[in-house]
């Protein structure tokens, strides 16, 4: 469904990352589930798939990185926007799970809502990797729940001593070897190559991946987001899949 909305504020989180709160003009009867997404419309400019970063009291939060015309305009607060959603299946039963959330870049976006939705019914540790140290922001500032335990930051440029040097997958490989009984579920969210790697590193663990793909209609009829060679549609069957479900897709470049 299409909903009109108004941007309340845009906050710059770091060199590239922004957060925006959007007030929806209508009450949405059903709250989103974690990992569902919206197609955010910047009038006459762009339509972009965006994870629900947070949602409460008809206010939708989006975390984004400036990449193109649409996100550039969004960072400058265009005022009125449109929100199509909520799309995808999302996830609703994670109760009592001990989760390791591995994020790459803007793949971290679904985290605040995941923690809000399940509150203290889950426990969650986080690895967040980014390319440059100046992209860092403190995740605890955007998370409302106490369910988050440890947060590990990883930067590829290795200039800031506060961050683990390397890629999110490097740290993941290391700690999953050392403390594999600490978690019973891994959720990875980020670029395709990263997700493919996470699925390979440990095949015994229960691992889910949050995919990104080219989404156009969001409703399951245009076929743009089919995860070839499987016949799964990201927009209706996903965006969260088990590694097994999308193994063939992840193995292709």
């Amino acid at each position: 469904m299409f909903f009109s909305g108004k941007i309340i504020e845009v906050t710059k989180l770091s060199s590239d990352y922004y957060k925006t709160d959007i007030k929806l003009f209508e009450k949405i009867s059903q709250s989103p589930k974690p990992f569902q997404f919206v197609m955010l419309w910047i009038p006459r400019k762009d339509l972009m798939p965006m994870s629900v970063a947070d949602y409460h009291d008809d206010i939708l939060t989006i975390i984004f990185k400036v990449r193109g015309e649409g996100t550039k305009t969004l960072a400058q607060n265009p005022g009125f926007v449109g929100v199509n959603g909520f799309y995808g299946k999302g996830i609703k039963d994670l109760y009592e799970r001990k989760i390791l959330f591995v994020a790459g870049g803007s793949g971290v976006a679904p985290l605040p809502y995941l923690t809000r939705y399940f509150r203290d019914k889950i426990s969650i540790d986080v690895i967040w990797g980014f390319r440059y140290h100046h992209q860092y922001f403190d995740l605890s500032n955007i998370i409302s729940s106490r369910s988050v335990g440890e947060i590990f930051y990883v930067a590829e440029d290795c200039v800031d001593k506060r961050f683990y040097c390397g890629k999110a997958t490097d740290l993941y490989q290391k700690i999953i070897k050392r403390e594999r009984d600490k978690w019973d579920l891994v959720i990875a969210s980020g670029p395709k190559e990263m997700l493919a790697k996470i699925c390979e590193i440990n095949r015994e663990l229960d691992v889910y991946v949050n995919l990104e793909n080219h989404v156009k209609c969001g409703l399951g009829f245009c076929g743009s987001c089919v995860l070839k060679p499987t016949s799964k549609l990201l927009c209706v069957d996903g965006p969260l899949f088990s590694c097994d479900e999308v193994a063939e897709y992840l193995s292709q470049n």
Binding site: M39, W41, K216, G223, S231
Partner: protein
Amino acid sequence: MNLSLKTSITNVKLDHPLMNSSGILGSEPETIDILIRYNVSAVVSKTITYEPRKGYDPPIVVELRNGGLINAVGLANPGRDIIPKLIERARRYNRPIIISVGGSSVKEFVEVASTADLYKADAVELNLSCPHTKGYGIEIGSDPENVSEIVEAVSGSIKIPVIAKLGLSDRILRSAEKALEKGAKALTLINTIKALVIDVYSMKPILTNIFGGLSGPPIHPIAVRIVYEIYRELKPEIIGVGGVSDWRDVAEFILAGAKAVQIGTALIKKPDIIPEILKDLQNWMIEINIKDINEVVGAALKS
């Protein structure tokens, strides 16, 4: 009791009357798999053009509060080279496949239809009525002379049956007449209806293309009216399409004269709708005491 929902269109045998409408998936082999899972009796491909088309940039669709959908995809498709792959995929499931054909000239229609013919699709459906792609659709289809020329050229060049898909226009009866006269073996009625949706806060049209085609429940009674009128005047084989959301809508199309029915918008919203409708149709058949669905095709016109 043995209730038969079997039917046929242009001699293509169908296990039941329900197929997808063109534009719902069906431009890649992988999405043919999905249509098969939806239980269509025949696969209708997305409209295929001579060259690949990227289509419009999003927004290409808006979901309306009244249950309708407005889309302007812009005939995005991989071009005619995909046709053999689509046909091969449908064959794996032993399911009939109708290739929807689009074009901006008579020559393009003929070329694409010939490819479908060469690889032995079961039929082609000529998209003479897309309401949102300049030079490709309703501008051609609302002129009976254009319809006449395209159908004649295509029918004369291929062996498989030709179905003409027409859209709402003042001269649809004349177009239908021309299409049948020039060799179309059946008609698909109707396409989406040209429409517009505006966001009242930004005060801007939402679709990138501004205009789109309206589908879903709001257009159903219009589609039933067209099927009824064309059936009354010409008695052709008709595939009814437009706003079906339950078995009643299908029954209406059949009573108005349709032998088969396509489902689009409702299939997106409810992927398991086809088995559900089939079951409900059988209950209806028991209630009205018929054994074969074909007994009531056009029954609403009998005095």
